[in-house]
């Protein structure tokens, strides 16, 4: 029977090609607009590390001026000072901890055919790799001892290893950066992140880090961060005064394996800030925060307002397309009330008529969904062209393809439901007399 | 009132010419009640369409109430239709989405009467067909006979000089048909000329005069009809409506 209804549906759709095209294009456009924006929204906000996102916490302390809050709404500053970061690292109260900052360094390749180039990387602690779990292609992370000994070691990203060493195992070799040789201890494999969630202070969709080196080493070499630096009091002259200042330029993450550990760490932070207050620092009331990964992403608005507004508009657009389809199907089915009456008179049950017309609207939905899928692909291409930094989030994955198809059929069936129901109310006899 | 001489209507397709009417002549005088009969396909409907200015003709002459309608443009024909002719259709042709009041109102609106005048006419016309109490009802709530009465009221409301009826009882049972027929006769007595197309000989027999059409030609044309003079008081009643 299904095959028969399908055949009827297709024949009926072919009979009014313009009306059918109108409905299919309408659904297709609506689906494409909503799925394009939804995909971007979904990937932007997707949890980058679902298995432990509730264990990784971003440390925020409020060391800001008594007269002026850092954020007008009272949120604490988004970075910490050097002296606090180091104090927290040395205290080691969390299960794992990593202070970090962004650093731009010139790389001088051994291979003289390559010109020196500027490279963006990350300065951090050994725990970083255990906390954020990038996969290694060769070698591994440096260890905590190397943190302590300010070792001149480096972990390279996959791309830069490709560039410098043709993708070969470079562990044990050295790379010269700003006149200093670092020995390579590890090379990362592909690390595809939809957003660079471990450092949201310089934009969630900035280029991936090309190298990683110990925090202590970089400080030894007096390397200044390439990220944001904010001071509420101008530091005195000199490098040591800068390190000692209340300028914030470091991101601090801790891993806390249980809620109990989180509570412990919170009270540790409170007592730490209490101690500092005795030293005359932290003039503001205690305002420590330990947001986990998803909370931090929300706080930093990884999903931009524009994308949210676009998604809202796209779904409103889909609603318009659906209302449009309801109207057109209603028109179509009403016109066929004669046929329905005849079928009913010839013995079709109300359910069978219902099935026949629902299948017809389902076919419209499926075709519309397929068109929508194609257009979503184009839409994402357009998004990538318009927002160059969104290349990691403007991609279709299987879950989104499935969502698209489900959305399309649901939409069309929903849109077809009312007209079909109306069609079924036709009395068998009503339409037969002329 | 309605005078056709040597009227001709040809339907042309690129292959064939079909004569719907050929050399069709008829003269209906004021106050007459003429029945046009004939088998189906004889050209009755074409005659009616041309008489009602719904279709143009290809040859001959047609004078409606002294106006030569040949070559009139669409708007002028619409105006003429609206002012001089009242239509009664076989399937009533009431507008299902309008109540009786609004249905009767349709031709009056196109006539451009003022609202109070329209209201008076509608109430009178519906009163004449005995449906004054159901003005707010919709056609689907009425029986076939009642619907045809509404259609008659609609035809009468503009006080036309000529009533064209197309198988007015074709969709009605005999009891309802008799009622409608009596109503038409009553209207005719008040002075309105009626031309009725029908294939029912019994109905035709009640008209003053029968015109038989076969193959687009009048075969039985009685030039000297017996005309019943309308009573004077009846005619004033008709004037009052106008």
């Amino acid at each position: 029977m299904f095959a028969y209804y399908l055949q009827l549906g297709l024949r009926s759709l072919r009979r009014n090609p313009i009306l059918t095209a109108l409905m299919v294009v309408g659904i297709g456009l609506g689906i494409a607009a909503s799925m394009t924006t939804l995909t971007v929204l979904h990937l932007m906000g997707s949890n980058p590390i679902p298995w432990k996102s509730d264990k990784l916490h971003y440390v925020q302390l409020d060391n800001w001026s008594a007269d002026d809050p850092f954020f007008d709404d009272g949120r604490p500053p988004d970075q910490v000072t050097y002296r606090d970061a180091v104090a927290l690292m040395e205290a080691g109260k969390a299960d794992k901890q990593a202070a970090m900052f962004k650093l731009s360094l010139p790389i001088q390749p051994e291979n003289k055919e390559l010109k020196p180039f500027q490279s963006l990387g990350r300065v951090t602690y050994a725990d970083f790799f255990a906390m954020f779990e990038p996969r290694f292609k060769y070698g591994g992370a440096w260890n905590r001892d190397q943190d302590h000994s300010h070792a001149r070691v480096v972990v390279l990203g996959k791309d830069i290893n490709e560039k410098l060493f043709g993708g070969q195992d470079s562990v044990g070799r050295t790379v010269r950066m700003n006149g200093v040789d670092y020995s390579i201890v590890g090379v990362l494999d592909d690390w595809k992140l939809h957003s660079k969630y471990y450092d949201l202070t310089v934009g969630a969709f900035s280029e991936p880090d090309e190298f990683f080196m110990p925090f202590t080493t970089a400080i030894d070499l007096k390397q200044r961060a390439s990220g944001n630096n904010s001071c509420w009091k101008t530091p005195a002259d000199g490098w040591d005064a800068y390190l000692d200042s209340d300028c914030i330029w470091i991101q601090m993450w801790v891993q806390l394996d249980s809620p109990a550990r989180l509570a412990e760490y919170k009270s540790f932070l409170d007592s730490y800030v209490g101690e500092q207050k005795k030293l005359g620092r932290f003039p503001r009331p205690i305002n420590n925060r330990l947001l986990d990964v998803t909370e931090w992403m929300r706080d930093q608005r990884v999903i931009s307002r524009d994308v949210e507004v676009q998604t809202g508009l796209a779904f409103a657009f889909l609603a318009v397309c659906l209302v449009n389809t309801i109207g057109l199907l209603l028109a179509k089915f009403t016109r066929k009330s004669g046929e329905i009456g005849l079928r009913r008179a010839l013995g079709a049950s109300r359910r069978e008529v219902f099935a026949q017309f629902l299948i017809e609207s389902g076919v419209v939905g499926l075709t519309g969904g397929f068109l929508g899928l194609l257009l979503t692909g184009l839409g994402l291409l357009a998004v990538r062209a318009l927002y160059t930094e969104y290349k990691t989030v403007a991609q279709l994955d299987w879950s989104m393809i499935a969502t698209t198809i489900v959305l399309a059929i649901t939409s069309a069936v929903l849109a077809g439901l009312y007209p079909t129901w109306r069609a079924c109310r036709v009395q068998p006899a009503a339409q037969l007399k002329v | 009132m309605l005078k056709m001489t040597h009227l001709q209507k040809v339907y042309r397709t690129h292959l064939i010419e079909t004569y719907a009417l050929r050399d069709f002549s008829i003269n209906v005088r004021e106050g007459e009640f003429v029945a046009v009969t004939g088998p189906s396909g004889s050209g009755k409907t074409t005659f009616l369409n041309i008489a009602g200015l719904l279709e143009e003709f290809t040859g001959g002459q047609y004078q409606l109430d002294g106006v030569d309608v040949h070559g009139l443009n669409d708007d002028k024909r619409s105006k003429l239709r609206n002012e001089k002719i009242g239509f009664i259709f076989q399937s009533f042709n009431l507008i299902p989405d309008l109540n009786l009041f609004d249905n009767v109102d349709v031709p009056l609106r196109y006539r451009g009467f003022a609202a109070p005048d329209r209201k008076k006419r509608i109430e009178e016309a519906l009163g004449r067909v005995g449906l004054a109490s159901r003005m707010k009802h919709y056609p689907s709530e009425l029986s076939g006979g009642q619907q045809q009465r509404v259609a008659i009221a609609r035809a009468l409301a503009g006080s036309p000089r000529l009533l064209l009826a197309d198988e007015p009882t074709g969709n009605l049972d005999s009891l309802m048909a008799r009622g409608v027929m009596e109503l038409l006769e009553e209207i005719n007595r008040h002075g309105t000329t009626i031309v009725m197309v029908t294939h029912d000989p019994e109905l035709a027999a009640r008209a003053h005069r029968n015109v038989h059409v076969i193959d687009g030609q009048v075969t039985d044309f009685d030039d000297e009809p017996t005309l019943r003079k309308p009573a004077l008081d009846d005619s004033t009643a008709a004037e009052a409506v106008a």
């Binding site: 020196p116 700003n178 009091k233 101008t234 508009l313 109207g327 | 279709e55 349709v106 609106r109």
Partner: protein, 405 residues
């Protein structure tokens, strides 16, 4: 106008009317707000920077290795740039308008002031800055060569003379007498004297609101970031692209132990800075376009269906004396009624939507005139869309009335 009978006929087929009305309502609400957002973005994108954007480009130089004398390199680079053919002038600077990165600080009128009077960006430049940027000096004078100080990143910034934008000067000194006055850049720095005022100078962050976007101060200082220096170059008109190539070549040759960063014309800087706004405007424009298209086609579809459904009725009306024009007008009036009902609902929806945007996205209130303009546009759209079906209706021959089926 036969408004009432059309209306009562419509009330008999509410669903179709509600569907079209709903579509029109949503369309109006979306189109008004989307157009408003587009307008805001276009306004943002066209805020003037105050500088010459057509003939300028900027780039960075990153030195490496021990023994790299960044101060000496900076001086020789500037000398080299200024004598290159096609170069009108060049200056060192830490940032340029719209670049997205720079130095921000508070400005105070008193030393040790607790809360800042205003905030400003600092452009650390030399005496060639006014000429290179193309800032228009409206009061006072340019920096003198001897005023240019030389600092490193770890040193406290101080400068005796500053030049600032008129917007900032007026903010600090609302009486318009800023020239010659003293200000304090941050909490305990020594006083700086305002020696010049430029008509307009934008700060580097385009997300700044219109109130603070022109808070900019020029400080006469050579201040390399580590081994990094940055230069802005203005070329003779029309020679920018050619000079950019030559400069890239020359700079790399002049010193092998450094990396010349990507050279960016200021036009490109502007493009990149507003790429998000541009994208938003394009996307919303596409949504509006598609929405109007779908709505128009929906009206065409529904009206066509209604005409087909009411062929007999149209014939009857014609038989009863309606002219072609009467029929045309019937369908246009009908469309007008439905559209108007949808528009009334849509007007409310548009303001509700705007309210939601205001609450969630700090968006400004939708100006009142958007909705009436939207009314006019959608009325026009509706009338255009219904014209085809209505013309088809007017061509229904009156003889349809006597057809038996």
């Amino acid at each position: 106008m036969e408004l009432r009978p059309i209306l009562s006929a419509l009330m008999r087929s509410k669903v179709s009317m509600i569907l079209i009305g709903l579509q029109v309502a949503l369309t109006l609400a979306i189109v008004c707000n989307a157009l408003f957002i587009i307008g805001q973005r276009l306004d943002r994108m066209h805020r003037p920077s105050g500088m010459n954007e057509t003939d300028t480009f900027w780039f960075g130089s990153n030195g490496f290795g021990q023994g790299y004398d960044v101060k000496a390199v900076q001086q020789s680079d500037l000398a080299l740039l200024r004598q290159m053919p096609g170069v009108a002038d060049a200056t060192s600077t830490n940032s340029v308008p719209m670049s997205g990165g720079g130095w921000g600080t508070g400005v105070n009128l008193q030393p040790k002031q607790k809360t800042q009077t205003a905030r400003t960006t600092l452009y650390m430049v030399d005496a060639h800055a006014l000429d290179t940027f193309g800032f228009n000096l409206v009061a006072g004078r340019n920096f003198k060569p001897e005023e240019i100080e030389s600092h490193t990143q770890s040193e406290r910034l101080q400068s005796a003379a500053v030049i600032m934008s008129k917007a900032l000067a007026d903010k600090l000194f609302p009486n318009g007498d800023a020239l010659g006055k003293q200000i304090y850049l941050d909490d305990d720095s020594p006083a700086s004297t305002i020696v010049g005022i430029v008509e307009r100078a934008q700060q580097p962050w385009v997300w700044a609101d219109n109130d603070s976007i022109e808070n900019a101060t020029l400080v006469p200082t050579y201040l390399p970031y580590g081994n990094s220096t940055r230069y802005l170059v203005r070329t003779e008109p029309g020679r920018r692209d050619e000079v950019m190539k030559a400069v890239e070549q020359k700079m790399s040759e002049a010193n092998p132990s450094r990396i010349i960063g990507k050279l960016r014309s200021i036009e490109q800087v502007r493009r990149e800075a507003y790429a998000g706004d541009r994208a938003m405007a394009i996307i919303l424009g596409a949504v509006i376009f598609a929405l109007l298209g779908v709505t128009a086609l929906g009206i065409v579809g529904m009206a066509s269906f209604w005409v087909a459904q009411r062929t007999k009725q149209i014939g009857t009306r014609r038989a009863l004396g309606a002219t072609k024009f009467d029929i045309l007008r019937y369908f246009q009036t009908e469309n007008f009624i439905i559209t108007t009902m949808g528009l009334i609902a849509g007007g409310i929806l548009a303001y509700a939507f705007s309210l939601w945007l205001m609450q969630n996205y700090q968006s400004p209130r939708l100006p009142w005139y958007y909705v009436p303009i939207g009314f006019l546009c959608l009325w026009a759209l509706g009338q255009l869309a219904v014209l085809g079906p209505a013309l088809r209706a007017s061509r229904v021959p009156p003889a349809v009335a006597t057809r038996s089926v």
